[in-house]
Symmetry: C4
Subunit: 379 residues, 4 copies
């Protein structure tokens, strides 16, 4: 029977706010740790598998600070033995030549020996090693990276579903992959509670949440597709909670995309995320290999443009971005400190208590000249 | 009994987003074809019957690319034998003289022999011939264009209803027209499900949807009238589906007006459109006769202004606009590629499956510096 | 019992749009006339009782065009015999001296003989004479203006209620006034359905609707008070309809304030207004005495500022503003033509049929470069 | 059982408007007084405990005008004997050095003898003395200030709850404090109806309402936490009313934060506040010690930035800001006059009647060129 299409309201970071709790907790006393299939991390922060964000050295530093970096195995790190020169060339190109140069740089073939080498470099830094592969390369590269010592595999595409219909490929069966590889597999991205459930039933160890989250996201402009991150997180978190109730297995979800400030981190966790994956704010660290630039690696279609190079600047050390001290009031530094204080104000002792925070629709409007006026929190 | 007026919320392109599906489909495998009363088109794109968009050569090129151009029979093409000079004169006038010059140019009488000639020129290019007439000219011109070989007639006015009350005219009876002419008749514009149903019952072969769709549309400013396109499409698509259920006849609806990007195309189809009609983005093609300008032909009232000339620029070839490759990330090029990928992400193998896509209210805000960060879709 | 305050959503002109109807009517065939206690006006347009808008000559011209001007009896016209010089002085003051000069100019005492004289001047122009008095002056001036030949009295204050509690004044009893004066009395402003009903029960002949309608209205900024005009009109129109059902007496309501374009006029009528009262758009006419300026006469409190002088410019003749032809597409000219076309598109043959128009929430966003693309309405 | 998180819509000052009442009251006849545990104030205005707003002299002047200033005992006044030089140094620093200088200035230790001295200075001015302490200093300073003659103690932190979980501190028990000190205790800030109730049950004499109220508030950006003030006020006022019904004790709530205009004051009271606490608008007075600057004292975390210095300008005398006459139409002057007129238009004779005002959602959009057009209110 014909039905009129109904539209549900969806919310992004700028549309919502967290309400303080009825009880407060001392920020020093909160536990922000995050567990992924037995691996525990002191802080619920992952670095995006973007070439301008993560190289082996960055992975080492983020490990030292308590988080987890994911190295992109489909980019520069596995196409070039000497990446330093490439990064420097990308950064130095004039704006009008950058896109063409990126297209050329990425047309080089992947070298399997570099795959092993990068994993070993991360291991040598003392860090846990997480690597990202695209679905088409997963079966071939998974044994190589496991052999080299990788501990977590991330399989990431623009939209991930359990069933992909294609004439040319059989597609990736996640349950087979999980079984054959014997390592935790993180899969994404999705925004669908149904797909979240199906992926969990396939045995994956974590879900990346986020498709075209930003109001200004390219996939929104070009494809019309996208779900604002707060709604995406709320609905996939609900699927996780139901799956946990039904099976007793708790599979974390990680909000990935569109996070710019400490406030966005706090809202992600309050909406139900177990961790966040950070791109641009980490690309702005001294340790990021991109030298103050960032670029996407989207190739959704042979005749659509590859990601544009964007100058993001170099703002502070990774430690300062995560742990402060901050000299800015715009929320881009001391992301962990912000999360701890926010959890304290909500009265949440750990991430799963933060999931219970009350949130409300309260659109933000950027203005200036406001002052934060009260004294310290119970200190 | 007195009743308080209730207002229903309506949505435009910028208010909504499409959610990805639970299944994905390879973009190469999707079928975007569109059928109009037996005529099949590879891509669901029509070109607006605007003088700055369609001339016979443009119609030939759009046919080659799989779409359908509609030639305006109430404009320059049927008032001037040599149109090239006129277009060039319009383009070269200084801004302050343009409106007056357009008024003068359009005050010339229509020449019936040019009507036949333009139809024959389109046929000579190998293209299917669709022509647009205003209601007042329909009865006189319909036999002429049919005789000359036209295959589809478009009868278009600002607001089309089945019943028009007028002292001076009997008005057009669509059922008589459809019967007498023996060609597919496309009628518009409407946004009303009731009118959609009534027009289908009169035997028309397609409906153009859209009245004052843009938030900044002249008819919104001047007349207060307008329905945002997503809501207009959803409610007329519902009428089409009900009519199909009741009668077994499927009459396509075509979203016409306000489409600027690939995202808008995808949202139109997801909202229920069988095809889209494109104006300005096609006026920006090298093939458009308007030489980088566009203008409306609205004459709703003798003392309201004729359409203003707007400089839209010449951006790319029609092929690039429809099929890429695109060097831009703003969604204005590779409209067909965008639709294919979007359908793939939604898991829709054809246009009617795309009608089932989940949509949500998720207002877009234009910002800059965001990056499209994930790897290719299952490729 | 304690109750949590509930907030209802209210809508202004920019928040809504009118949907076209299922039937269309030829614009030449619509009847826009408006009746006020036996006085019939060809067009439902009143001019605000503002000094910069209405003088006797303006009243004559608006009468000729079918509308009704209201002369302010608490301003310049009744304080100065020779107003031309005063207007010219106000217009020529530098911006920084204007407010102080206005305060000085308005501190002159009212001259009762000028009250009679202005009424007689309007009558001499052949126009129907409507004059506006403030509540405090009503009892004293009403007999004078009636004697001089005025036909309609407007009693206007910022907020009008039937009951006003004051230590110093007994206040105006509208039922006594109506009975004693024997002329139609227009009262306002209100936005309340209850007050509308009460005023009708007191025998008034029309209600002015609008308190702080604009989102940027001074009373919104300063006092926090205001109701957007579409909601104000809908709810007072509902009270009018109920009163008419209960008593058989139809008392028109007039939307007053915030109207800038033809679209706003059409939305007012569609929301239920019987007529509109226009300020700034008429202040921009060649005939307005304000010489391209407008100013309010608000004195809500002795220590709050008198209205600021604003330069509105002189745009066109009053005839062009009301009847066109228009050379602009921003909706500020040919207001009557716009209303006729809008009614035609809705299928409304007269104002009371226009009250049945479907409206929707469809926020407008000002952008540029859109084109009004369809051919004439069924003509 | 797993539940999907629901988001409730929250509203700030710019989202709402007050509807005029069915009865009007003469502004001269309204009573705006506010009572705090036996202390009566002619006007419901408190000055924020900010260093740039309140010093003893300011407290004296605000007392003369009918309100109550709160002196911050954790800032400059209790760290420096000669504050004049410090204020002057802060104001004269170049922008880029200001934050570092503030950090240095505030690193000086608190001097208990200055605590007594400031209280005595306020008493000497003839004013009632209210002082603000942070929770950690409350037990130590409370006896000192009482001894020195303070009449009201304000205990303020970013978020106040009755239960605070901390490893290092037992925390403040409000019921013990209230009992031991024998002075009215004002506590804040909260936005929670539950916490409001609990604080009232602990015996506090007033509640400060507001956490991250502004859309652009630092705590919104940095921590994601904040509740728009209208919603915060409505829901805490509801708790107050319920507590009053249950116990017969009426504990006032004071909206604190984000108030800029007379309209904001009126909306706070209409939403249910008994009084408002004003920061920046008072920092703009000639009497404010900040010399045209304001700065927050937020130290929510050792590694987040201290409040930034913002230039707010010096606009008018405190008397003009509160009582006019005003030469501005932006609502920043004559705040008391605005409240009186607004109450008159609503028909509220006192603050508790103003709590019954009808409010609606009616977003404001800043534009220019509108005119406030009606004559005076029943005057």
């Amino acid at each position: 029977m014909a039905q009129i299409k109904e539209l549900k309201r969806a919310y992004g970071f700028d549309d919502v706010a967290i309400a303080p709790g009825e009880v407060t907790v001392n920020p020093e006393g909160v536990n922000t740790s995050f567990t992924l299939d037995g691996h525990e991390f002191a802080i619920p922060f992952l670095a995006s598998a973007m070439d301008a964000v993560v190289n082996p050295a960055f992975a080492g530093e983020l490990h030292r600070l308590g988080g987890l970096a994911v190295l992109n195995l489909d980019g520069l790190q596995t196409r070039y033995a000497d990446t330093e020169e490439i990064y420097s060339d990308i950064a130095s190109k004039p704006r009008e030549e950058a896109t063409a140069f990126l297209q050329k740089v990425y047309s080089q073939p992947l070298q399997d020996d570099l795959v092993s080498q990068r994993v070993e470099e991360i291991k040598a830094s003392g860090a846990r090693c997480a690597v990202s592969v695209i679905p088409a390369n997963t079966k071939r590269l998974a044994p190589i990276v496991k052999e080299a010592g990788a501990e977590i595999i991330v399989v990431q595409s623009t939209v991930t579903t359990v069933k992909h219909i294609s004439k040319s490929q059989r597609g990736l069966i996640f349950s087979e992959l999980v079984e054959s590889i014997g390592l935790p597999v993180l899969v994404g991205n999705t925004v669908s509670p149904e797909v979240t459930r199906q992926l969990m039933e396939q045995g994956v160890s974590g879900i990346l949440v986020g498709v075209g989250p930003g109001a200004a996201c390219t996939s929104r402009e070009v494809l019309g597709i996208g779900v604002p991150q707060v709604t995406a997180t709320i609905q996939t978190a609900f699927a996780r909670d139901q799956y946990f109730e039904d099976t007793g297995r708790y599979v974390p979800i990680i909000t990935d995309g569109g996070i710019r400030t400490g406030g966005d981190v706090c809202k992600s966790i309050a909406a139900g995320a177990d961790a966040v994956m950070i791109g641009t704010p980490f690309a702005q660290s001294h340790e990021a290999p991109g030298l103050g630039f960032n670029w996407g690696m989207a190739t959704p279609h042979s005749s659509l443009p590859r990601g544009t190079r964007i100058e993001v600047g170099t703002k502070a050390s990774l430690e300062q971005i995560l742990r402060g001290p901050s000299s800015l009031t715009d929320g881009t530094q001391n992301l962990v400190g912000a999360l701890e204080i926010s959890m304290g104000m909500v009265g949440a002792s750990n991430v799963r208590e933060m999931h219970q925070a009350e949130m409300m629709v309260a659109p933000s409007i950027k203005t200036e000249g406001k002052i934060f006026q009260h004294a310290g929190l119970g200190s």
